[in-house]
Amino acid sequence: MLKYTELVMDHFKNPRNLGKIDDADAQATEGSIACGDMMTVYLKVEDGKIADIKFESYGCAANIATASMMTEVVKGLSIEEAKKLSWKEIVERLGGLPQIKYHCSNLAVDTLKKAIEAYEGKRQ
């Protein structure tokens, strides 16, 4: 079994911001066809800030933990700040990830960015 940090396991055991937002302002689903992982991110935006964010996922422990950490980090940030989030920051916040699981943090950030794009697309 892969060695995960305590914080990763904590997010896997008790994922933050889990679920759906029924009246979301935007949402996006991204997946990796190759590894079978899927993630959906729901956004609620108020005054240019991420007022609420929730996620659903189908994937390994790292996938769930990175999604959970991503939501925790960006909640309350402005859209512009959230756009700057990098996968490295997620990995660092989690106290590290096995290298072969870095792509999971990528998926979390990609799905967030797709949701922001969807939000911005709607506004135009």
Binding site: M9, C35, G59
Partner: protein
């Protein structure tokens, strides 16, 4: 509670076997090839082990060769047979669901000019005798068909394949690593058979190869000419002894132990009925194995979640990167649906699991499947 349910990966050495092996390590430590009394003592233990293993397989002791395990046995059987008899090439039949110890040898042989047919299994995980028969060509010289699949536990139709092989004069090898110690084996059904000690409660690093005495097999490594020239290297007397003691224990207790194992498996299967949308991968399996998938739950996530509660199972499909993903070649060959392949976990119970352990496992399994489905 810590529960070990990965006996297909490796087993805990039986305490009695460990004691016996320890005794040989410390008391009968002589080199079995030495002429003095220390060597002679070791030699006797070694040859007695060969006899016990031969009896277990219903073959002759001179047909048993000790090796370092399954991989080496498979390599000697396939490469050694071809080297001695068909060095110029020929056609080989194997399956898509073999262990890498056979698959990788077959791929190497393809590069060296041999033709290989990889039989596709049915959706239930076994190759059919009909497909085997259809694959036979004029220049088919060898078949290597595993006895029991390591991931699914599906028993392959060796008896029927044996009949066809004999009819067509094709030499048949079987990787029986997951069969020895789990189901009764008639070695005479095949011409060569591989086994590994640590899969049946003996130490790691020891195994054996049965070779029909009529067969000519050439060594693939060179040295002092041990094991009648087929496998050089100082005799692993403690390992051989450990395998013999373990097999003897299994043989003597087989009825009782296999019934108990069946019962534990039934208990797990019954506990599943309170969950929905799951699939058992493979049919006609040995009583130790359950390969199963839950819809909406990634196998790797479930295995990690179970590990969190001290339960060890294995998963064949792991997402290791976007581009290079390792999915079970066995489940893929069975043409299972994506969720079954991504969701698969392998539970393999052993003779040393208790009912309490299985009870704990079923509770944790149900709890974690329900939890992960909400994510």
């Amino acid at each position: 509670m810590r529960v070990y349910l990965d006996h297909a990966a490796t087993t805990r050495v039986f305490p009695q076997v460990a004691q016996e092996v320890y005794r040989v390590f410390t008391e009968n430590f002589g080199n079995a090839s030495s002429l003095h009394s220390h060597g002679e003592e070791a030699k006797q233990i070694y040859e007695k082990a060969r006899l016990t293993i031969a009896e277990y397989l219903k073959v002759q002791p001179q047909e048993i060769y000790f090796t370092s395990g399954g991989t080496e046995s498979d390599n000697i059987a396939i490469m050694g047979f071809l080297k001695a008899n068909f060095p110029e090439g020929g056609h080989i039949i194997t399956t898509q669901i073999e262990h890498p110890a056979v698959l990788e040898v077959a791929r190497y042989l393809e590069q060296r000019g041999y033709d290989v047919t990889y039989l596709k299994p049915t959706v239930d995980g076994y190759v059919t005798p009909e497909d085997f028969k259809r694959a036979i060509r004029k220049n088919t010289v060898l078949a290597s068909i595993m006895w029991v699949n390591n991931e699914t536990g599906v028993i392959q139709p060796i008896e029927e394949i044996s009949k066809i092989s004999k009819e067509y004069g094709i030499v048949l090898h079987s990787d029986a690593v997951q069969a020895v110690g789990k189901i009764p084996i008639d070695g005479k059904l095949v011409d060569m058979l591989s086994a590994s000690g640590h899969k049946f409660y003996a130490p790691k690093g020891c195994g054996f190869l049965y070779v029909n005495s009529k067969l000519k097999v050439a060594p693939i490594t060179y040295g002092g000419g041990h094991e009648r020239g087929l496998r050089s290297g100082t005799e692993n007397v403690p390992g051989a002894h450990g395998m013999a003691v373990a097999l003897k224990m299994i043989e003597e207790n087989f009825n009782e132990w296999s019934k108990r194992l069946e019962k534990l498996k039934k208990k797990i299967l019954e506990s599943l009925t309170q969950l929905t949308d799951y699939h058992i991968n493979g049919r006609n399996t040995v009583s130790s194995h359950i390969n199963l998938s839950f819809k909406g739950v990634h196998g790797e996530a479930l295995a990690t979640a179970l590990d969190m509660h001290g339960v060890s199972v294995s998963t064949a499909s792991a997402c290791s990167s976007h581009h290079k993903v390792s999915k079970s070649h066995v489940l893929k060959a069975m043409d299972l649906e994506e969720w079954m392949i991504d969701g698969a976990i392998r539970i393999s119970v052993g003779y040393d699991n208790s009912e309490e352990e299985i009870q704990y496992f079923t509770e944790i399994l149900s709890q974690e499947v329900k939890r992960l489905r909400k994510i």
